[in-house]
Structures are given as C-alpha cells and as structure tokens.
C-alpha cells in the first residue's frame, strides 16, 4: 500500500477527514520550504501538496501565480523541489508528499526519468494539471509501476463517462475541483459540491478530496463533512505572502490549527 493509501485507511478508521495544505516550493524563499513542511505536519497536515513553480501557471489565480514568480526568482525548479523533498524525508518518513504542477517541467526531464527521480526523493503522488488522462498513459504507467499515485482532478463539468475514464487511471485519491475557474476564485456552493461528490462516489471507491474555494474554518468544516480530504491552497499561500521571515512559521501554524480544529469537528455525513 502506498503512503497515501495507508494514511486514508488510518483516518477512515478514526472517522476523520484528511487536511491537505498546499504551498508552492521555494515561496517566499527556498530556505523556508522544508521548515514550512515540518510546521504544516506539526500543526495537523495529514498530507501536503507541494507546488512545483512554473513560468506559465495557466490554471492558477493571481495568488498562486505570484508564489510561482517568487520561487522562480530564486531559480527553484523541479530539480530543486525534489531536493527539498529529500531533505524533508531525513526527519519525516510518514507524511505523504504530493507534487502539484504542470506538464512541461516533467516533459523537460522525460516521464520515465522524472518517475525515477521522484521515487528516489520519496514522493508519494503527482498531480499534473495539464496532463489529462488521454495524453499521459505512459506517464501514469511509469508512476504506478513505482508505487507513486497519479492523482487527477475532476471538475463540475466532468461528465460521468469521463469520470469513469479518469478513475480508471487514478490511484491514491481523486481531487474534486469545487469551482469553475482558477485557483483562489470565489466561495464554494457546499450543497452543489456534496451532490457532485456523492455522484463521484458511485463511480469509484477511491477517496475524494475537495479543493478550490476553501478559505476558513467554516468552509473547511462544511467540506470535511462530505469529503475524504480538504485541500487548502490559495488561503495558505496568501498568508505566506503576507508574512515576514519572523512570523512566517507562527502564522502558518495558527492557520493550520484553526483549519485542523474545524476539519476534526465536522460530523461526517458519508
């Protein structure tokens, strides 16, 4: 069983929902990233989505775009991100790390070489925003043959037939994007989301994570009631952007504590 699967299985036994924060590697400065990862874990992260900076983040809103630009100013690319994961693993061998990014940095290395290097760095899952299942068969094989979970997004406009195709490629979990639009957009409609998540569950036994639009304790709690994982991205990155070197870790710890309390207090309706 992969680390992601083990984590979900353990949480399920406790009747809990996973909290998955997102940060962009190298933001605000590469020297902070590994410390931030440990801070996230210490304050309730069950898994972490680690963004790989990219020059043209087409699916991201301004908040995560700026994070990518800050990281790229310090020349943090995919190779540097894998080194950060290695360093993190020196003292943490249990928390799943999911890389999230775009296809081209992977294309630049090649799918097979990337899978080798991700495995060597002990990465657990990969979300590639612009690799739809039709275009990444070989890549999925390379990941799965190394027990790395390829994680796919499902959107409000994904037709049921396509959900079948996607879940046949996916492992670990599927990630339901709760809004039309880019990351960091407006608030989510929890009733619509819960109907969609229920429909997805009829088509797969994979855990369902929900992200996009979760900004505070209220939305985190409401989402935790219906999902297996709650992903918080833009809100976290916004806080990092607004912090200084001195209060960065304490600010992040405080937000994580708030979110963790909210997620744990949800009454599961699944």
């Amino acid at each position: 069983m992969s680390r992601i699967q083990t984590t979900f299985a353990a949480l399920k036994q406790q009747g809990k929902t996973a909290l998955i924060p997102y940060i962009t590697a190298g933001d605000p400065h590469p020297k902070h990233t590994v410390d931030l990862l440990h801070t996230l874990v210490k304050n309730g992260a069950d898994m972490i989505e680690l963004g790989v900076p990219f020059s043209d983040p087409m699916a991201d809103g301004p908040v995560i775009q700026r994070a990518s630009e800050r990281a790229l100013m310090h020349k943090v690319g995919l190779t540097a991100v894998l080194e950060m994961v290695k360093t993190f693993r020196l003292t943490n061998q249990t928390t799943p790390i999911i890389l999230m990014g775009y296809a081209n940095p992977i294309e630049a290395i090649g799918p097979k070489a990337f899978a080798d290097r991700a495995k060597a760095a002990d990465v657990d899952g990969v979300i590639t925003v612009d690799y739809p299942p039709e275009e990444c068969g070989e890549f999925v094989q390379e990941l799965r043959s190394r027990d790395i979970d390829p994680i796919f997004l499902l959107s409000p406009t994904t037709e049921p037939k396509r959900v079948d195709l996607i879940v046949s490629q996916a492992s670990g979990f599927v990630y339901y994007v709760s809004l039309k639009g880019v990351t960091g957009a407006a608030n989510l409609d929890i009733i619509e989301v819960s109907e969609r998540v229920a429909a997805i569950r009829k088509q797969t036994n994979l855990p369902v994570g929900v992200g996009f639009g979760i900004r505070d304790a209220v939305t985190a709690k409401a989402t935790a009631a219906i999902a297996d994982a709650v992903v918080v991205g833009s809100r976290m990155v916004q806080l990092i952007e607004a912090s200084t070197d001195d209060n960065l870790l304490s600010n992040v710890a405080a937000l994580m504590t708030e979110l963790k309390t909210a997620v744990d207090s949800a009454t599961k309706s699944i």
Partner: protein, 400 residues
C-alpha cells in the same frame, strides 16, 4: 501519392498537438470540437463565411508582382500575397470571422482574445462589434506600450483591453490570462484564439479558416503566370499566416515551403523567438505539444523580437510536424535584416509592410539573389505596417 491528412481525431500531428489542458476546460473543448465538426463542411456555414470574407474583409486579396523590388534584388521574381489589404490590415481577420460565426451558432454572447501585436485583438474587436458580441482582449503590458495605435483601435471598436502584468508581459502571458478567463466564464464565453496553437481543435480550426490565403493564391498564380511558385515564404510566430498559405500547397510537389522565425538580435545571442530554427526541446505549453524555448527545468524563457507578433516561445504544432517530416523548412531573420527589408519595400514598391511580414520579405530577398530570373517566390505579406510606425521611428531616433 497519399494525401496529407492531419491532424488525427484528437488533434495530434505525430507527437505534436493534442489537448493538454486542465480538467475544467475539457468539456468546453469537447463542445467546441463537436460544433466545429458539425459546421466545418456545412454548406450554409461555409457560404456565410465566404460571403463575409468577400463583402466585409474584401477578399480575394490580390497577388502582386513586386517587379521593381525583384529587379532591385536581382534574381527570382517576387510575388506578394496582399493580406495587408484586408479590412483591419492583416490576415488575422479571416480567422476571427470564422470563429465569430461559430460563436454565434453556439449562442455565446461574449468573446475573448489574446493579442501580441494587436492585429488579432483588432480583428476580434472588429468582428465582435459587427456581430454585437461583448469583447474582452488580453494584451501584455509590454505589448500595449509597443502597439499603442492598435490598443486605441480596439477601444474605438468597443472592446475592453485588459493589460496583463504577469510573467514576461507579452503574448504568452496574454494567452495564459485569456485561458483563465475562459475557464471561469466558459458558460457564456467563446475564446477566439488568434494563431494555430492552443489545444485541439484550435490549431486545425484556425488553419482551416486561414487556408483561404493559399487556396486563392493557387488560383491567382495559375492565372498570372500559368504555374505555381518555386517557393512560398511566410513569417512564423505562432504560425497562422504561414499555415494559411502553406496548407493548400502541402500536396503540391516542387513548391518549397519556408517559414521565417524571428532571430531577434541573432540566433547565437539567445535573444530571439526561433524555436524551430534552433531545434528547441519539445514540450507542452498552452494546450499542445510542440518545440518550445525553455530552460533545463522546463520553464519558458523570455523571447525577443522587434515585432510583437513574432514574440512567442512556441510554435503551432503543425509547423513542428512539417519541420519533422521535412515538408517545410524554417529559418531565422534578425531584427536588423527585417528592418532593412521593411525600408526597401517601402521605397521600391510603395507598400509599408508589417514588421512581422518584413521577416518573410528579408528571407525572400536573400533567397531570390541565389535564384534565376525566371524562378518565382511567393511571399505572404501578412499585414501592413501602419501599426509599426512608432517602433520604426523609435529605432531611427525620430520623434513623431
């Protein structure tokens, strides 16, 4: 001989092209693909398209024998396909007419576009005004500075021009921003992409709408000189004017197809926009796989060209394919070479060419010198240079 039949059903030209987009865009692209499949051979749709090209755009655009310039260059006879004479001053309008007709049939009241030099933005704003569609154009703030007259034209036509401040603040960033708008407003918005790039079906659809250039040229060359040219030359940024004139010639033997990329300050300086000429690595950007200017980490690097319309780090996937199968050749022309050709055409023929098209002219000049006087080069004069007068004046240290 097997006829050229590309792309495949999912938009692949060999390893190039495809549909590399976020899941949020898949349904919108499926809808577009189905609608385009429905209408691309529909006689009523095609008749309406042809009618608008004739009466609104002013087609067919003439082919003109640049006799004095050919004599001055000394060598092959150079003919110009006069896309500069189209309404709005460039080939871009052909495609926007086609896509706007499709938007109408799909019931989308709002159109968006990205633009580099501003020609595609103007063409989109123009057709949107005529059809009563809301129009938003994304343009890099660097390009807004370089192309002030076109920005004003778009505003006169009722479009909203949104400056894009992210990344390199040029065409690629405008495309990113337009994609973000489309993901968010997909229910009421049609994205009119201006070049033969982007996810399937855009490279094919834009090519098809632009193919009128080559279709006309084939008839016109036959009428004028009784044969087809020895070489067809066009500039390539994303590559829509080149695909438009190349496509009908792909199956015509003995016609060399030559795409001219922007070599900027020189290919050896790295300050250029010539991914094909320099054999850049293959990668994925803006929804398709193609040759891309990028660093070792797969991040897109900044490009340079005096002409905003060629300032793009990738290239349409069909050009990548035509390069690999050796049906087309790709070369680079520097800023300086393009400027020389620009002035030369102005003075010799009374035609002010766009800086983009001046790259094609400069290569035609080079090639013609090596050819016989009875040989023929057809250059796609893709646009007129009125929009570039500020850039040209600045280069000559002249205040207008």
């Amino acid at each position: 001989m097997q006829l050229y039949d590309m792309p495949d059903a999912r938009g692949h030209f060999g390893q190039f092209g495809g549909t590399f987009v976020a899941e949020t865009l898949v349904e919108a692209l499926d809808e577009l693909r189905m609608m385009y499949e429905k209408y691309r051979h529909d006689p009523v749709f095609l008749a309406e398209f042809a009618h608008d090209l004739k009466h609104f755009v002013g087609r067919p655009s003439p082919v003109y024998h640049a006799k004095r310039w050919s004599d001055k260059v000394g060598g092959a006879q150079i003919y110009l396909k006069r896309e500069d004479l189209n309404h709005t001053g460039a080939h871009k309008i052909n495609n926007t007419v086609g896509q706007a007709l499709l938007a109408k049939r799909m019931g989308k009241p709002r159109v968006i576009a990205e633009t580099g030099a501003g020609q595609h933005g103007v063409a989109t704003a123009t057709i949107a005004a005529r059809m009563g569609l809301e129009c938003v154009v994304y343009m890099g703030s660097e390009d807004i500075k370089r192309q002030a007259p076109n920005v004003f034209r778009m505003k006169l036509l009722g479009a909203t021009v949104v400056p894009v401040e992210s990344g390199s603040k040029t065409l690629k960033d405008a495309l990113n921003e337009a994609m973000r708008d489309w993901v968010t407003n997909v229910h009421n918005t049609f994205y009119i992409i201006g070049t033969v790039a982007g996810p399937h079906p855009y490279p094919m659809m834009v090519r098809d709408f632009q193919a009128v250039i080559g279709v006309e040229a084939k008839i016109q060359m036959q009428e004028m000189v009784g044969r087809q040219p020895d070489a067809v030359i066009a500039c390539v940024g994303g590559g829509s004017n080149a695909m438009g004139i190349f496509y009908p010639y792909i199956d015509v033997p003995n016609v060399r197809l030559i795409g001219v990329e922007a070599a900027g300050h020189g290919l050896e300086t790295g300050m250029h926009a010539a991914p094909l000429t320099t054999n850049s690595p293959v990668g994925v950007l803006h929804g398709n796989r193609t040759y891309l200017m990028q660093d070792a980490d797969g991040n897109i690097i900044e490009t340079h060209s005096v002409s905003a319309g060629l300032d793009y780090p990738g290239v349409g996937p069909e050009h990548a394919w035509l390069k690999d199968i050796k049906r087309a050749e790709y070369v680079g022309i520097t800023d300086d070479e393009a400027m020389t050709a620009f002035h030369s055409l102005c003075r010799t023929e009374g035609i002010i060419p766009a800086l983009e098209s001046s790259h094609a002219l400069a290569h035609a000049e080079k090639m013609a010198k090596t050819m016989r006087k009875d040989e023929i080069i057809l250059v796609n004069l893709s646009g007129r240079g009125d929009k570039d007068i500020n850039t040209v004046a600045k280069l000559a240290n002249i205040t207008l």
